[in-house]
Amino acid sequence: MITLQNLYLRVGTFRIDNLNLDLQEKQIHVLLGPTGSGKTLVLESIIGLRRFQGGRILIGGKEVQNLPPEKREISYVPQDLALFPHLTVRENLLYGLRAQNKARNGTDSHLNRLIDTLRIGHLLARYPHGLSGGEKQRVALGRALAPAPKLLLLDEPLAALDPALKSEIQQLLLSLHRSLQFTALHVTHDLDEAYLLGDAVTVLIEGKVEQEGRKEEVFLRPHTVPVAQFLGLRNLVPGRVLKIDERERRISVSFWGGEITIPADHAARNLIYGEEVILYLRPEEVLILREGKPIKESLRQNILTGEVVRILDRGTQHWVFFRPLGVDSQLEIHLPNYVFRNLALQEGQKIQVAMRKESFWVIPVLIPKPPA
């Protein structure tokens, strides 16, 4: 287990206050956040290249924040890979082993296995400038993993790659992880990559940990508004808590002049009466009602009437922009193409939409809970 405790770091006007991070062994933990959120600062603090003003770093229970980088057994793969240009691929790979006095004469079975898995055996005598993009990525990973580090730190290593190569290396990372079971902290701002690679995800925005947990948790049930905004979620509607039914475990929330009652576990935390919230309505789960078709009882309370403002063809989906009557905002509705075709919608058309209460997710605006 690798832990960051109460990290306090100040650089110019930027602050990271009381940051805590727990990395489980043998997991790929993703540190996700927009550019400028402080991800690199956290990374540099863990490596030991940046002084911080408060906090501890523990690896396997041992405090390392006072150790120099070379004693922490943390391998670092920066965005530009930084393969040593004046050394051959073999010398690059051996670098960590030699520096940590782990190189044994002749063959090192762990290293050889790595070379085989990465399929770079035929490149050993070459110099980095003679390698293709994909080959460089493999060598960089090999170099980082060769000394069997306690933690592998990847700083957006795939950010600059073109889609085909990015996908290839992502798959490679996953399969390497499956076979070698290393512990990794992968820093990225790419949502797809985070979802693909991360066993656990920590979202860092403006120096604060907004949320951490399993990726499904983070992506489907964001706890705070900044996370929701960072994830690019559509249909974030402001509302207010009207009623809390403790017994039935339900809450009523007002939005857009209407009201909706939803299960209490569809909220990021326990809410209090009168609190300001943001309702997230998944675009895939808004139902467009067909004329004449009967409506299920459960939906009848949550019907909105309005107008189709715009229709966008997105290739595999169609996006319908819907404006409810008397409201200035729009709802985004994502429809699979076959559904869209059956509905035969047109811009300007008056329609009705319905939402299941389970399709809502309530995010409080204030964190933590305001005093009652």
Partner: protein, 258 residues
């Protein structure tokens, strides 16, 4: 006129300017005298003194300049900007001013103690080395800082994460990668040291067979109104300089491991 052409003409014009200066020396030149002057014992001695002193001064400048350059390039410390500014001081201080300052220093209590208990500098060979060192040290540091700046600090970061101490990361990674730049900085500083006159003559004097360097010899020849000897010495100095500076070009062309 097209921009590229103008630029090339400017470069050629500059070359022509210096070439014409050298050529005009040749107009006074007496070929048969050249060897006589070159092989005269005092001239051979000043060539020796110039080359030896410049070499020692260069190594001293590198010895302190390289770590200083590393600090300025990679590290942050209080007063960094002040230090950086001071390095440029010798460029503004005329060489004579530098030499006079050194001479005055050895007049102070600290200075005279150094001379009594340690090494004699005033009017002695170490004075030449010191004067040359004072002239080139700032420049050496600047040039080496530039050479180091070109190497991304990420390499060292990765090396350290892989287990190298800061020292090792520097010697094994940054140093080999910046070697080209460092070498050309060294040669440039050496050449500048060889050509140094004002500070040297002020601090170390002009004694033939003791502290007379090539530039000093040129000055003294002119001061005795011996024009042919002056010209010959200038040509010798120019020859040494051009050879050294051309060597810089050759070093730049051969990168290690690429």
């Amino acid at each position: 006129m097209n921009f590229g052409k103008t630029a090339i003409y400017a470069a050629l014009a500059l070359f022509l300017f210096y070439a014409v200066l050298i050529l005009s020396l040749l107009s006074f030149f007496e070929g048969k005298n050249f060897l006589t002057v070159l092989l005269a014992p005092d001239v051979l001695f000043s060539i020796q003194v110039s080359v030896l002193a410049a070499t020692v001064a260069m190594f001293l400048a590198i010895a302190i300049g390289l770590p200083a350059a590393y600090a300025l390039s990679r590290l942050n410390f209080p007063g960094k900007k002040v230090v950086d500014t001071f390095l440029e001081l010798p460029m503004i201080m005329s060489p004579i001013a530098l030499g006079a300052a050194l001479l005055i220093f050895f007049n102070t209590r600290v200075g005279s103690t150094i001379q009594e208990k340690g090494i004699l500098f005033v009017f002695e060979f170490p004075g030449i080395v010191l004067a040359q060192f004072a002239t080139i040290a700032g420049l050496a540091t600047r040039l080496m800082k530039t050479a180091l700046d070109e190497i991304s600090p990420r390499y060292e970061a990765v090396a350290r994460s892989l287990g190298s101490s800061a020292w090792d990361a520097f010697w094994k990674i940054t140093f080999p990668l910046s070697l080209r730049g460092l070498l050309s900085a060294m040669i440039l500083c050496w050449a500048k040291a060889v050509g140094e006159f004002g500070a040297t003559v002020t601090l170390a004097g002009t004694m033939a067979f003791k502290t007379e360097t090539m530039p000093t010899a040129i000055f003294m020849a002119l001061a005795s109104a011996d024009i042919p000897k002056t010209i010959t010495l200038i040509l010798i100095l120019a020859g040494i300089g051009l050879t050294a500076l051309y060597a810089v070009r050759l070093v730049e062309k051969r990168p290690p491991g690429r």
